[in-house]
Symmetry: C2
Subunit: 173 residues, 2 copies
Amino acid sequence: VVVQSEQRPEDQQAPGSNTCAGLADDERLALMRLLVGTHARLTRVLGSELERACGLPLTWFVALVRLASAPDNRLTMGELSSELALTSGGVTRMVDRMVERQLVERQHCPSDRRSVYVALTAQGANALDEATATHLEGLDRHLIGPLNETDRIALVVALTKLGTDPTGGCPGG
Amino acid sequence: VVVQSEQRPEDQQAPGSNTCAGLADDERLALMRLLVGTHARLTRVLGSELERACGLPLTWFVALVRLASAPDNRLTMGELSSELALTSGGVTRMVDRMVERQLVERQHCPSDRRSVYVALTAQGANALDEATATHLEGLDRHLIGPLNETDRIALVVALTKLGTDPTGGCPGG
DNA sequence: TAAGATTGACGCCTCAATCTTT
DNA sequence: AAAGATTGAGGCGTCAATCTTA
């Protein structure tokens, strides 16, 4: 069921008028703005902290986590693409860079020779171990710390509902 | 006050072990993952809908909204940079592209000749008017629709607390 | 023909250096 | 010297075309 917000007077303006004076106060835009701003700030702070401490981009860390928790510590390119909300081409290039640093390696997939596995290396596992403490501490400080338990639970509930939106559009899924 | 999460057994593993088997279930990582995923999906869907319907990138729309609600429909580059969570260089290039499409124009700032105003043009105001209906409808469908009022309010509260984190790092602010 | 992955072209951002004005 | 804005170099992602295998 689609909830149609009640019509607001600001929504109806003569075309060519002084252009949406009250638009900045729109509740829907404000919420979106909040979400985008929070995401930007959080990824920026956590990313630079992790980069400084461990020389590891935040996106690589996420990829390493997914690989580490996958069966045999490996995933196909396509699976990784879904996990990271990246296009196929984007994953190819990210994996290229991670292979260069020997954090992961490509492996043939015997059951389907079109697919290629990307597998965690020992070096990748070590890097993940080292980075984990730093990142979890950053998460505690910037994401968990400012919220009480009620906030945190409500946030999970709301984001989960948004995540299961059937009209969604993921590149890799 | 920083809430220190209770120690989880998964956090302590022998170095060089099979590497963080339970890491994927960590509550903090899961919440961050949810936030990043929701942001990615939402900006992707709303962005492509707006682009298809009006030929306007989502980031431009946000910029136009900020300009439209500013005094005299204009902001300095630095102010716009803060509003959009973009670096100074990023804003320069974005404004370059918007000037090219005649949605905004640069104006000298008499009071401080180092600054330059970016001002909404009539054409920019029209583009904003046209895009607003599409975007608000998309917001209703993808952001407001899936949530009930309780969720929505809780989401605003939580994100606001995260936004006022004193340890934050904005490029333009 | 379709699916999985890669590649080339390109868009958009960041960082650091630079220029102008304060 | 410091602040506001711009520029060049470079990183990282998307899209569309391509190649290989099913």
